[in-house]
Assembly symmetry: C2
């Protein structure tokens, strides 16, 4: 019981020296990435740089105690930072105290929501975000994130949260671009892009083992930070118009709730729901993918609890919303992380860094952080997913395209809502127009298949129809209309058999519809039968009057039904291997 709510108990008692070594190495690499990324994502969220560093202390300690994923690296991430900027920006001016309070309340509310979802085992809600919607959303969010960094890369006040705002702003600011900033940005981007693929081979050539070279290559971010800071200090780049980070308060965050404001909380409720769901989905998919590789398991409800507490921790420590991030988790995993203790070590290292290093970052160019963000979000973009998904399913492709277009044109909230709404709406639309197949017997078998796809034997006195959907209110009339049509098309009709193999549920509207069909057929002297009704559906029908009023029978199988209603044809068809003779005689 205790272990259910405190996953730390599952690994801490057996913690070994080998675990310690593995975790310490992983923590060192993640810390080196996290210091610049944390500040960069805070800047992306519109918050002071320290908010990102604070988001890498208490949240990580809490996740280490309550989380079930071993390699998951929690902290500020790009997409959630963008969503924070959009939601808080709708309420207050970026940089203002109200803006920061809004960001803290977003962390607190989304944390409380995740915690509640975990405790009430509502994690399944996240399943309503389909893969195509997530994929489209992440790609579009990546583009918006990149666009938001143009102001730092070009040194011009380019603003806007959606493409229709950003693009005119770029045009209007063409004259304001700062050449020195552009040069620094270009050099940084070139170095970071090169480092992604080129650093490890280079280090190997200097004699490092491939694994160490790969790890050391991750310090490219640190190199970019250190070199650009030194250059900015040494050459006094500030006087060429290059923006630098400035003062970062030294020392640990102050703890406490932001000022209570019920009106603000109400405004943030919907954005917080979205941040909670997107944060959870992003985190759980990474955690599950890596767990499957190592045959470990993550518990979705525990993950919600752990992420919820991590966000509440972020909210009370002056930080920003957090979740499990893709790039650092993979680095953590590649570095050989053994237990969540690595997260706790990362937190302690970040804490130490805040005490000591922040004065040294005064001259860090903002363009460096922007370049780090750009390189990080490139891994989020997946433009090939759209044609691939569209080729498989128009509905999924449309949902993905809608998510991307709405996100780019109208922002992250509208994009997500449009995607979820459209994907659910298209599912409902599809189920409202079910596939219906008239079925006949496959010769030599007891099996019945679609007359349009298979060579099958049918009896003109029997209309056997299979409806490939649960019967519920949006599609109830469709079946009724189809059967009534058969009644007028087939003058010799004596029996109608509804094959219910694919009917998983019959709701009250559909039941009324079936009762109407039964009455209509009865008036026309035709009996109405069901076959292959599944257990749960049968249980449910037994609760109404329908089975009592049914003019025909309920058969275990379609073969049983046809063997009773058309015995000669059915038995000889089952015995024959070829249906040609039967088809000719029928």
């Amino acid at each position: 019981m205790l272990q259910r709510y405190l996953p730390i108990l599952s690994w801490l008692p057996g913690y070994s020296r080998a675990d310690l070594t593995n975790d310490a190495i992983a923590a060192a690499v993640v810390t080196i990435m996290l210091i610049p990324q944390g500040m960069a994502y805070a800047m992306l969220a519109g918050l002071p740089p320290q908010a990102g560093l604070y988001g890498a202390i208490l949240p990580l300690l809490l996740y280490a105690v309550f989380g079930t994923s071993r390699p998951l690296a929690v902290g500020p991430v790009a997409v959630v930072a963008l969503m924070t900027a959009a939601s808080a920006g709708a309420i207050a001016q970026a940089g203002s105290a109200e803006f920061h309070y809004a960001a803290l309340w977003l962390a607190l509310i989304s944390g409380a929501l995740m915690l509640a979802m975990g405790l009430f085992r509502l994690g399944f809600i996240a399943n309503f975000l389909s893969h195509p919607v997530i994929s489209g959303f992440i790609t579009a969010a990546g583009i918006l994130i990149a666009a938001s960094q143009l102001r730092h890369l070009l040194g011009a006040p380019i603003g806007g949260k959606t493409l229709p705002q950003v693009i005119p702003s770029i045009v209007a600011n063409l004259g304001n671009i700062n050449p020195a900033t552009v040069i620094v940005s270009a050099a940084l981007l070139a170095f970071l892009f090169w480092a992604r693929k080129g650093a490890a081979p280079l280090l190997e050539r200097f004699g490092l083992a491939p694994a160490s070279a790969k790890l050391l290559a991750k310090t490219a971010l640190l190199v970019a930070v250190v070199v650009s800071t030194l250059l900015a200090w040494g050459l006094g780049l500030e006087r060429f118009g290059i923006a630098i980070l400035g003062d970062i308060p030294r020392g640990l965050p102050e703890f406490g709730l932001p000022p209570m404001d019920l009106g603000l909380i109400q405004l943030l409720l919907v954005p917080a729901v979205m941040i909670a769901i997107v944060g959870y989905v992003e985190s759980i998919s990474i955690a599950q993918t890596l767990a499957a590789k190592k045959r470990q398991s993550v518990n979705p409800d525990n993950e919600l609890i752990a992420l919820g507490l991590a966000n509440i921790g972020a909210g009370v420590s002056n930080a920003m919303p957090v979740t499990g991030g893709l790039s650092r988790t993979i680095v953590n995993y590649d570095a050989g992380v053994s237990t969540p203790a690595a997260g706790a070590m990362t937190a302690l290292s970040i804490g130490a860094a805040i005490m000591v290093l922040t004065p040294l970052m005064y001259f860090l160019p903002r363009a460096t952080l922007a370049a780090i963000i750009i390189v990080a979000v490139l891994s989020l973009l997946d433009f090939r997913a759209l044609p691939r998904t569209w080729a498989y399913s128009r509905a999924d492709g449309a949902a993905m395209a809608a998510t991307m277009v709405f996100t780019l044109l109208m922002g992250v909230e509208m994009g997500l809502m449009a995607g979820v709404g459209l994907s659910l709406g298209l599912f409902l639309f599809r189920t409202s127009r079910p596939h219906m197949a008239v079925v006949g017997q496959v010769a030599g078998t007891e099996h019945f298949r679609n007359v349009e796809r298979h060579r099958v034997v049918t009896d003109p006195a029997v209309f056997a129809i299979r409806v490939d959907e649960s019967l519920y209110f949006p599609n109830a009339r469709a079946l009724e209309d189809r059967i009534v049509q058969a009644l007028s098309d087939q003058p010799d009709l004596r029996h109608v058999v509804l094959q219910c193999t694919a009917v998983n549920y019959i709701d009250a509207s559909a039941l009324e519809s079936l009762e109407a069909v039964n009455t209509r057929l009865k008036d026309g002297g035709v009996t109405f039968h069901l076959s292959e009704v599944k257990g749960p559906v049968m249980d449910q029908l037994a609760r109404g009057h329908f089975l009592h009023d049914l003019t025909g029978e309920v058969f275990l199988t379609q073969f049983d039904a046809m063997a009773k209603l058309s015995p000669d044809l059915t038995r000889s068809c089952a015995a024959e291997q070829r249906c040609d003779t039967l088809l000719r005689s029928a």
Copy 2:
């Protein structure tokens, strides 16, 4: 082609003298009901009495030309009048010119929406309103309608649009009740209630044929109007505080659009959508029920066009939103109506009545109209539907209860939205937790059923599972989890067969999930097979890489799969009539 858009052409050329007689009698009876009902429903909508009469002229003429239902009696109806009052009342004070303009715009916009839905064949949208939601909505609306008439029945200024507003208003107005009004109301209600059941038998005792007696009994409304008006005039009831109708402008309505106001139109868009859908659903269900009885047919798209034009007609003739009403349609049908010409005749009679009779209605007590509404809405109330629906299906019962509670407590719009939202949400929730059955072979057959419900034979090397739902994003993980669990539970597992009888669709998320299952099983040395995949699903799978990567096969039937994967057991089981021996050996 012309006939498709002008259904009048299907009956007018063959119009006979017998048709004329039938239609004239029906029109006479309907007119007698419609004059008081029209004024009553206008009062219910918060409009002057003539709006209801105008709503029975042009709309009826238009429906006669474009409608496909022969007995449908179009005009003002109670539920739509209530919705009009609620929607217009949210924008302007009842009785003001703005209020009347809002009502006219509601008719115009909902008419245009219906027309567009009909032209674009979008009538299926109305199917998303389930029977339980409609039934719960109509009952709750009936209660609100009855509550809204208390002010006229009691002669006290009782107001409010929802029960939490009406009930305190009743309590506050207990001292304002007018005793004379209460006496008149009680007498009218007693007479009208008695007339519903008692008038026809009494007339029969006076020697009338049963059919004529039944028709003549419908004039009870007219009797109530005439007698109460004469008493109010003769006894000067006004001085006892009984409210009378007062001046009604004589003559036909003025035609023309209400003043254009884009802000107003925008505010009315959502209510107009609801009025269009509720009006259409109410009308089409009556029309289809009666058409089925006479083996006639109504065309849903034509009905939308006809009702749309009728409402546009109402909007340009100073009337109010209209639709096909239950009570007058049944009277029309019972009176032996033959063609929509009866509607045109009704319109002409109402037109004549407006020219001549309106001055005579000066002294008509408002309580008379209120009593007519009360008696009419009683037929809308169906309190037994809730326990009946709940017993059949908790989900449908919950949707019905939610619709009723939200309508009563928060008004018609919130009620409808809650009902539709909950019924769709519950469907999505159900499909997100699909029923999954491990299946085995029924001895002596080639049929496979749930191991928990049937005595069946299974092979421990094969995990055969049937998932009773289409595979789509909300439930994709559930199947993945179930199969992965079987992999760890069954150490002898060699094959997994997914029986897809009930799978009507596999979306992109579920496809990714199946690919993940395939890979997981492959890593564990287990092959993954599908069986009974339906044609449309197979076509779709063929568009991706899945079938190529699949470690196993796709079998036509579950029997084929088992005959290949576990040949001895399967064939001997098919031959055996009892599975006991097999079960013991297995």
